[in-house]
């Protein structure tokens, strides 16, 4: 049976996921989505188009920046990269998620559900 991540959790984790992926280097929407699918074994599913408003909002906040890059035969892609402000936000988010994760680990240690 597949465990899909609930909508609320997907929403809360999208920004930290994008920021974490961008620390590995510049990327574009389609690639980010494929990467998240791959890492989660297809259990985190974004409605693809929904990623873009999030990216644009993050850019508005000054966490990431973008540039159009020409690929082949006149086609272009919009690449995103993380900014200093984004790294700071990621650090904060990471602390929050790590805290939650360790609380759950402590509670669930030795328990079998």
């Amino acid at each position: 049976m597949r465990t899909m991540i609930e909508r609320e959790l997907v929403a809360a984790s999208t920004e930290p996921l994008i920021l974490s992926l961008l620390t590995k280097g510049e990327s574009y929407g389609y690639e980010l989505i494929q990467e998240v699918k791959r890492l989660s074994g297809d259990q985190i599913q974004w409605t693809d188009g929904m990623l873009y408003p999030v990216l644009h909002r993050m850019e508005e906040h000054g966490w990431i920046k973008s540039r159009w890059v020409e690929i082949e035969n006149g086609r272009k892609r919009k690449y995103y990269s993380i900014k200093k402000g984004g790294r700071q936000i990621l650090k904060e988010k990471r602390e929050q998620w790590s805290l939650l994760s360790s609380v759950f680990s402590g509670l669930w240690k030795g328990q079998h559900v």
Binding site: Y30, T47, D48, G49, M50, Y52, P53, V54, R75
Partner: protein, 244 residues
């Protein structure tokens, strides 16, 4: 027979119809769609099946529009409203129904020129560019008759414009006070020649008579003066009987 390019163009029109009208956003979504179609076809789907799957996966135009609307920066929206009030864009200038089709189209084009030049307002320079590019416009002819090359005017306008970064929709860009003044002058000129509607030629006169905007300044450097222009406009209007 399935045609991918046509289908993508149609999909883009649907996005536009749903209100996603920022071309950079549409380009980015289209780029995504194409990647997904390509991937689908590589994994053995037909072009049509890959396209259908990609469209489904990218999401409905209405839901995308809703998400993008949430991103619309509040600060800029408020700033836009404030600028609108300062620019007197609420009620002060003639209503759109007072313009001829060609004049309305000119103002629409001016609205498209603004973001292309990274401006968050519609200035006299954008209206002038609109007049120079509007389909079947008479202003290029009028300029030619006065010995002025319209293409040179366009280049000069673009050169006189200071660039600063702005990204956003085109629907709510406010007119600058100078454009509002030019529109009021255009209305006065239309009344003076007993025209029911303000035509593109009146808009041109309005820009010139306003006197201080980028449009007026550029036109003056080309030696375009009010007297000759008014004569040319009158004869043009006489020729087309009622204006464009």
């Amino acid at each position: 027979m399935f045609n991918l390019e046509q289908s993508i163009a149609e999909w883009r029109r649907q996005m536009l119809a749903a209100g996603i009208n920022n071309s950079s956003v549409l380009d980015e979504l289209e780029c995504h769609l194409r990647e997904d179609v390509e991937r689908g076809m590589q994994s053995g789907l037909s072009g049509e099946a890959a396209f259908q799957a990609a469209v489904k996966q990218i999401g409905l135009p209405v839901s995308l529009k809703r998400e993008f609307a949430k991103v619309a920066p509040r600060k800029r929206v408020l700033l836009g409203i404030l600028k609108g009030i300062l620019a007197g864009s609420f009620g002060a200038s003639p209503s759109l129904s007072a313009f001829t089709t060609s004049a309305r189209r000119t103002l629409e084009l001016a609205r498209l020129e603004a973001p292309r030049l990274h401006h968050d307002f519609v200035g006299t320079e954008h209206v002038l560019l609109g007049l120079l590019t509007v389909e079947n416009g008479t202003i290029p002819d009028i300029l030619n008759r006065m010995g002025v090359n319209p293409e040179e005017v366009r280049k000069q306008v673009e050169k006189s414009i200071s660039m600063f970064s702005f990204e956003g929709g085109t629907a709510h860009l406010p007119y600058t006070p100078r454009v509002n003044k030019a529109l009021r002058i255009a209305a006065r000129e239309a009344r003076a020649c007993k025209q029911a509607c303000i035509s593109a030629e009146h808009l041109f006169l309005g820009l010139l008579l306003e006197g201080d905007g980028v449009a007026a300044r550029v036109l003056k450097t080309f030696g375009v003066n009010v007297q000759t222009t008014r004569q040319e406009v009158l004869s043009e209007l006489g020729r087309s009987q009622g204006g464009i």
